[in-house]
Point group: C2
Chain length 232, copies 2
């Protein structure tokens, strides 16, 4: 399946709501979609399965699942043995960095995505970073994205030869409710998306920070939440 303008985009696909809406935006922008999902030793391996379902539902050109051992690198509740916090105050203040922060995660993921983009000749990488819900993550800030683009320009064959890679984060300034409304408008199969940090079998836990933000978002957007939660 070719994009309207024939250009390719790599989409960081986690199986979550944000990356699904991001993928739909990349397609609306006229790109042919190449999904890239990381199997990084996360406790929620369900991410990979959800991403596969979404890739199929969206009929992407190719879906690459790439293993990278972030568990070896360590340092976060999402990959290590620390518990995932429940019911603590919502993060989002600039001065606080949540314990779910994985050191360098977006730096690593965007680096791999940039390499993949260069290999397939894609001109863009799309990812679902969002500063409102996750302002505590330094690697979700525009300053980081611009600095990263510059590093890619200086450090890749494509960049040196003048084919600069654009890193697109179209959700950066949107609220979760705005993202959900955009997803509905673009026909994203929201029921296939997954956000939970700590799922219980096939169910979202309903209590972790990610679940709470998601539930609030659906409520605020006035959209029925198709998610199946363990605790409602």
């Amino acid at each position: 399946m070719s994009g309207v303008n024939g250009s390719r985009a790599v989409v960081l696909a986690s199986g979550g709501l944000d990356s699904a809406v991001t993928a739909a935006i990349a397609r609306r922008d006229g790109h042919e979609l190449y999904f890239l999902t990381f199997d990084y030793g996360q406790r929620h391996a369900v991410e990979v399965r959800q991403a596969r379902r979404l890739a199929e539902a969206m009929a992407v050109t190719h879906h690459l699942v790439c293993s990278v051992d972030l568990r070896a690198i360590g340092g976060s509740a999402l990959t290590g043995d620390q518990g995932v916090p429940k019911d603590f105050d919502r993060p989002g203040r600039a001065s606080e960095i949540p314990v779910t922060y994985v050191p360098g995660r977006n730096l690593i993921f965007l680096s791999l995505a940039s390499a993949y983009a260069e290999t397939i000749g894609a001109e863009s990488v799309y990812f679902g970073a969002n500063v409102l819900d996750y302002s505590g993550y330094p690697d979700c800030r525009p300053q980081f994205i611009r600095a990263f683009e510059k590093a890619v320009k200086e450090g890749t064959k494509a960049g040196v030869e003048g084919r600069a890679l654009r890193v697109q984060a179209p959700l950066l300034a949107l609220s979760k409710a705005d993202i959900i409304r955009e997803g509905v408008a673009l026909g994203v199969p929201l029921a296939l998306t997954h956000s939970c940090y700590d799922p219980v079998g096939d169910l979202a836990c309903g209590q972790c920070d990610s679940c709470r933000i998601r539930r609030d978002g659906f409520r605020t957007a006035g959209v029925v939440d198709p998610t199946r939660y363990a605790i409602t």
Copy 2:
């Protein structure tokens, strides 16, 4: 074993000559050494074994071997099915990018190293990039290294909090002969280092570009080459 000034450094350790000399320089600079080696689906898995031997010989504090599936990302003779070129003209002119270039390799490796550095509280990452022998690789240039440091500053908790990571490439402007002389001066066990792109069992092939540069380096430095080559 603690460094003279108590600070930690992550050293990208490939098992090769350059990274071994780089590690010795990091130690001379007073750092406690943390080796990071990538198992990235390279055909020369011997790299990992050599890096382990070197880590043991240098009694580093910790040696982390991290898997990352660069083969999935594709795009180069070093990870894919293309042959490794033999006996072609020595690369090194700024306008040529060798086929052994792996898209985004140093970007990916330095990203993982930066995450590891943040996890263990290291202030520096040392790597053995060298512009004279490898000027065809865009990600071995000072412009790239500075741009990468800026991306880390903007994208990591440590950077945002003012603990900037330094990326040190002490071999950047040295010739291979200079690197070998420095290695001898610092007591690096050069016989344990490995450079070959296409080894024959335990032997270096003696013909690939990396072997040729290494042999020329020892010859120019006036140092006996301890390498065992398949073809002399």
